[in-house]
């Protein structure tokens, strides 16, 4: 019996190869078939593995390890295997990636139907799945890093999918460069791990930690912080979150798959995977929690005032990832992964529904020009409503359970945890507000689409759709994934954090179970009640402001003046980074390295040598005058010099004394 783990990433890779190499010449239907069949097959393999290896079935002991090709890198002390491993955490990730990923593939068939480069899109999408599956299947840090870099590449390719549009190409570059900063931290962490434990295998590092129960802080803090930098880059946390909003330049299904459901959760996955190190460093854990809570709040405030529907969702994603980091930071890894899973459902749903709206409006992304779409796009409306309720945290939708779990764990985590709990609570209020604001602006009220044809708004979705003046419901290939995800967003949390935590506990360690704490059940209930009340409050405020046409929002914006401006400008973070980092870096690149380093020193020395040679040549060429007498004069001079100095060098004396000793006898003999 074998679980065929290697098949899981290879199948999408085959899809990538076929579509990437032959897709241009294949008919569209065949491209879609290939692009859908291979992820579906991978999903099938994952399902089979899940059924066979489900804890309690007893067929396989988790973690189940598959090793390939003996050892991958073997350089005396360094020994790294090409190994995949399956455990509970990987299983959850695999199910989310292949399941949600496959749904988004289906959706893409409808969404991208009229796009140029259809085959290119799907080959990239399959490539992304390949790398993401490598990332979660890897049994050591290096292989994980391979997947980590690979998803970065796929993300870059897909953000810049409309590469002839400058903003999209720039956004791709920005994502790549910002991620590179994070990856550098990850790499440093890997090096530190290697020097500390002598191995990069998760199991061996775990053994190393168990063998040294006294090892706390110090080097582990350094490793944890380096890994955190990597995680913050990939998962768009402060201070490296800036690439994610710009990543919305890519096609909407890409935003759903890569920049909401899967890739951006890699940081959370990584922290959960390496939690043994974080557990030994309370300082690093506190940093994780603070970054998470700060990001959650910060991004939520920006999302309050965004008008681009995808940007709202992008900031909301950053905010939700902040929740997951908060969960990790209070050592509630399974709660973080729980939120990761439910978030994958409802955020993919929200993005896909937003994509459906954009598709129906022919590329319009500005919410101020939407409105009144409830009747015209009923299925999109209802499914999106499911997603919004889920993210707002209203029971019994999925988001409630996972967010509640994180907030509860935070509340139980000392003074810092209580402070962060309140940040999380305020963020929940903001989340509920901006999501219902999105709902009201998009689907309720009067249609404000009068100007949407000429208002290009830089929309990426094809111009072909602008012929559809009337908003229309999307095709079934797009609606079916919406419905499935809506159902998942509804029921996804019912498993409950206790069962989910127990399931994951072999990997992520136990969580604080409310049922086992004195008074825990009551506290849990109270906190849930507060959270729901806060969510309802957010809904109520959004209802006041946006349900009916009124001036309240505008008045508040005018009244709050500078604060509103600050939020609209996203706190000017991009500008600050531009001034503090981009400008000095480009300055030093252009002037210090470019002019001084390359221009003055490297080119300069080459030019100097060439110039000296040229000058000498310029001088010497005058010797070759063609004038016979000047040649002979030089010849004579040369001969004279040789006679005098050469004689000196041979005989050691100057002319006369010994060398040529001529005595003229004037007197005759």
């Amino acid at each position: 019996m074998n679980l065929y783990l290697w098949l899981i990433p290879i199948l999408p890779f085959v899809g990538f190869l076929i579509n990437g190499m032959l897709g241009r010449r294949l008919p569209k239907a065949l491209v879609s078939t290939v692009a859908l069949a291979f992820p579906l097959a991978a999903f099938g393999v994952v399902l089979r593995a899940a059924m066979l290896a489900w804890p309690g079935n007893g067929n396989f002991a988790l973690p189940y390890v598959e090793n390939f090709a003996g050892s991958w890198i073997n350089a005396s002390p360094l020994h790294i295997d090409f190994t995949f491993a399956l455990d509970q955490l990987t299983l959850i990730m695999l199910l989310v990636i292949t399941g949600v990923g496959f749904l988004i593939h289906i959706y893409s068939v409808g969404y991208m139907a009229h796009e140029e480069g259809y085959w290119r899109y799907f080959s990239y999408l399959n490539l992304f799945l390949f790398f993401m599956l490598i990332l979660v299947l890897a049994e050591n840090y290096l292989l994980m890093f391979v997947g980590w870099e690979g998803v970065g590449l796929a993300s870059y390719l897909l953000i810049g999918f409309y590469f002839d549009k400058k903003s999209a190409a720039d956004a791709g570059k920005k994502a790549f460069v910002v991620n590179r900063i994070g990856d550098f931290g990850f790499l440093l962490g890997i090096f530190l791990l290697l020097s500390q434990f002598g191995s990069l295998s998760f199991a061996k590092v775990g053994d190393g930690l168990t063998a040294n129960p006294g090892l706390h802080g110090g080097i582990l803090t350094a490793i944890a912080l380096c890994l955190l930098v990597g995680a913050a880059g990939k998962s768009a946390q402060i201070p490296l979150y800036i690439w994610l909003p710009d990543a919305m330049e890519g096609p909407t299904p890409v935003s759903a798959l890569i920049h909401a459901a899967t890739m951006v959760t890699a940081g959370v996955y990584m922290i959960a995977r390496t939690h043994g190190i974080f557990d030994r460093s309370p300082f690093a854990l506190a940093i994780v929690a603070i970054i998470g809570a700060a990001t959650a709040f910060f991004a939520a405030t920006i999302a309050l005032v965004q008008t681009d529907i995808k940007r709202v969702l992008a900031y909301s994603t950053i905010s939700q990832l902040g929740y997951m980091f908060l969960g990790c930071g209070v050592a509630a890894y399974s709660a973080a992964v729980f939120h990761l899973m439910t978030h994958a459902f409802f955020k993919a749903l929200l993005f896909l529904a937003a994509g459906s709206v954009i598709h129906g409006l022919g590329g319009e992304q500005n919410m101020l020009k939407m409105g009144g779409l409830r009747k015209k796009m009923p299925i999109t409306f209802w499914t999106m409503l499911m997603g919004i309720i889920a993210i707002a945290g209203i029971p019994p939708w999925a988001g409630f359970f996972s967010k509640d779990a994180i907030l509860y764990e935070a509340f139980q985590h000392g003074t810092l945890g209580k402070a962060l709990y309140f940040v999380g609570l305020v963020t929940a209020l903001l989340t509920s507000f901006y999501m219902f604001r999105l709902l009201y602006l998009t689907f309720f009220g009067e249609p404000r689409a009068d100007a949407h044809n000429e208002a290009d708004s830089g929309s990426s979705h094809s111009a072909l759709h602008t012929s559809h003046l009337e908003p229309h419901e999307s095709p079934w290939s797009m609606l079916a994934p919406l419905v499935i995800l809506a159902i998942l967003s509804f029921v996804g949390g019912w498993i409950g954090i206790e069962r989910f935590g127990n399931f994951l506990s072999p990997v992520t360690g136990p969580i604080i179970d409310p049922a086992l704490e004195p008074g825990g059940k009551n506290l849990d209930l109270a906190l849930s009640f507060v959270a729901v009340a806060v969510a309802a409050l957010g809904w109520f405020i959004a209802h006041l402001f946006y349900a009916k046409k009124n001036d309240r929002a505008k008045n508040l914006a005018t009244a709050s003046g500078p604060v509103y401006g600050l939020l609209v400008n996203k706190y000017g973070i991009d500008e600050i980074y531009q001034a503090l980092i981009v400008v000095p870096v480009t300055f030093s690149a252009r002037y210090i390295l470019g002019w001084l380093g390359e221009g003055a020193i490297i080119s300069g020395s080459a030019w100097l040598l060439a110039g000296i040679t040229g000058l000498i040549g310029e001088f010497l060429r005058r010797w070759q005058s063609g004038n016979l007498r000047s040649y002979s004069a030089w010849l004579a001079a040369g001969a004279a010099v040789l006679l005098i100095f050469g004689g000196y060098f041979v005989t050691g004396t100057w002319l006369g004394s010994h060398g040529i000793d001529v005595h003229i006898n004037w007197a005759g003999r």
Binding site: R621, Q624, N627, R629, V662
Partner: protein
């Protein structure tokens, strides 16, 4: 008599002739004169060869002189032919104008 003239005088004469040849070579503009100066230098060397051969009673020097004279004759034949060719082509024998080989 031969023996009354010391060898050093021959050498001095040889040096004088050679120097004359060098300066003639450098100063004169006419190609024929330059050519004659070369012959003068060759013969100055010949004279010193003979002098030393006599001084040290070595016949090698005298044999060498014959070689030099043979080569000088051949050189004169070729050289004069070249000079005639140059004159036909350029209508001048001024060495300052014969400078086609410069850059």
């Amino acid at each position: 008599m031969w023996n009354d003239v010391p060898s050093s005088w021959y050498l001095v004469l040889s040096a004088l002739l050679f120097t004359l040849g060098v300066f003639g070579f450098l100063i004169k503009r006419n190609l024929i004169t330059v050519f004659m100066s070369i012959e003068l230098m060759l013969n100055a060397v010949n004279l010193s060869f003979v002098t030393f051969a006599h001084e040290w009673h070595a016949v090698k020097g005298q044999i060498f002189v014959f070689f030099v004279m043979v080569v000088a004759a051949a050189e004169a034949a070729v050289g004069l032919a070249i000079i005639i060719a140059i004159f036909r082509a350029r209508n001048t024998l001024n060495v300052d104008q014969i400078d086609l080989m410069k850059l």
